[in-house]
Amino acid sequence: MRLFQNPEKLFLMMSEFWGGTVTALEVFFLTLLFALPLGLFIALGRMSKNAFIRQPLHIYILLMRGTPLLLQLIIVFYGPAYLFGINLNRFFAAILSYVLNYAAYFAEIYRGGILSIPSGQYEAAQVLGFSRKMTFVRIILPQVIKRITLPMSNEFTTLVKDTALISTLAIVEIFRIAKSASSQSVSIIPLFVAGAIYLILNAGVTQFFLWFEKQQDYYR
């Protein structure tokens, strides 16, 4: 409890946590910004009739889902450095890894959603004279978004917790701060604080999805 007897130290820890939280949010939003659209294109390519598009994406998804994100972070950052002497910016390498990894998961969720739309929707659109692109954008995608909302909420909450992995690239984030504060002050409290931060962030994510589901409640 020494931590609480020293307000200065406590304040310092809290401001560090604040910085870590901002970093986590940056990783979270940047990953979503790029991985959500990328995943959609991967899903469409994964369903292509052309095997030269489909097969590489199949292998890509297998690699991304089949190996630990932790390992991918290390390879993306240290790989170019060892092989070509290129030093990537740590934060850039981190975002790149998250985007590549999450896009693979998103792609499979999109694909599941797209495949769940009955073929009659495509047929009705075709008979009405819709182009293929218009059919997808106006008819299919809105229904897909409704159907994938729940599996997506799983991925979003996992992403919040996965931001902890960037400490591997020596980027300061919530969990790393908690660990060092905990060992310095010989207290378990900072770890609880870290847990509480993740929990609060995910409570926000959950609230967002409750709202988002409600937005789409007007039809079945």
């Binding site: 009955p118 009659g120 929707q121 047929e123 009705a124 075709q126 008979v127 009405l128 004279g129 819709f130 218009m134 106006r138 008819i139 809105p142 229904q143 409704k146 007007y218 039809y219 079945r220």
Partner: protein, 248 residues
């Protein structure tokens, strides 16, 4: 006028249409009857390019849809001009669940026919009045009964003012009560001289409204003629056998 000659269509090794020929005249109601798997729906779907035929000749209003063996389809501009004149109503309605009733009917008017919102709305409301669903314009498909949903689907097709309206078993997923409300819409359309091709299992209805009837059996047109010919004096033994099941 639609002219179809020697249409062959197979799914893999399964031959579904084995050389069928028929024509559809403007202003008439053509009923297509026959047992399940006889190729009725496939025939209709080939007219709407939901399926592509393997060989044969199809012409719509002097424009060639496809010809030859293997069938060669005309350039896209011709196909699109033909499609503009073809409407289709499905067994499963296939309404867009995320659109209101009105939007289901206007969406093709605004986005394909490039009509203004106001014009599209007016055209759509007229089409909904025809099927008696103008009061449901702001509801969503899930809030409607099956019969009402099918009537919206008919309005959606009507709004585009096609020259030919195709119905693929429009009442097969409805109970008898809902069937009759959809059939009365079709009856009304036939009185207005809408050209219709109706694939149906409703024999009494086919007999009542059709100008001509085609009986299909195992991928072939087994018999065609007026309702009187087919229902009263069927010549083909298969027709006799098929109709007997309905009179029992």
């Amino acid at each position: 006028m639609i002219i179809a000659r020697d249409i062959y269509k197979n799914f893999g090794t399964n031959a579904v249409l084995k050389g069928i020929s028929f024509e559809v005249n403007i202003g008439e109601v053509l009923a297509v009857i026959g047992s399940s798997g006889s190729g009725k729906s496939t025939m209709l779907r080939c007219l709407n390019r939901l399926e592509y035929i393997n060989s044969g000749y199809i012409e719509v209003d002097n424009e060639i849809l496809c010809q030859g063996d293997p069938a060669k389809y005309s350039p896209n501009s011709v196909l699109q001009s033909i499609s503009r004149n073809m409407g289709m109503v499905f067994q499963q309605f296939n309404l867009f669940p995320h659109f209101s009733v009105l939007r289901n009917v206007t969406v093709a008017l605004t986005h394909v026919r490039k009509m203004s919102k106001e014009d599209a709305r007016e055209t759509a409301m007229q089409a909904l009045v025809k099927t008696g669903l103008d009061k449901k314009a702001d509801e969503y498909p899930y809030q409607l009964s099956g019969g009402q949903q099918q009537r919206v689907a008919i309005s959606r097709a009507l709004a585009l003012n096609p020259r030919y309206l195709c119905f693929d078993e429009p009442t097969s997923s409805l109970d008898p009560e809902l069937t009759s409300e959809v059939l009365s819409v079709l009856r009304k359309l036939s009185q207005e001289k809408t050209t219709m091709i109706v694939v149906t299992h409703e024999m009494a209805f086919a007999r009542e409204i059709a100008d001509r009837v085609i009986f299909m059996d195992d991928g072939l047109v087994a018999e065609k003629g007026t309702p009187e010919d087919i229902f009263r004096n069927p010549k083909n033994p298969r027709t006799v056998q098929f109709l007997k099941k309905f009179s029992d």
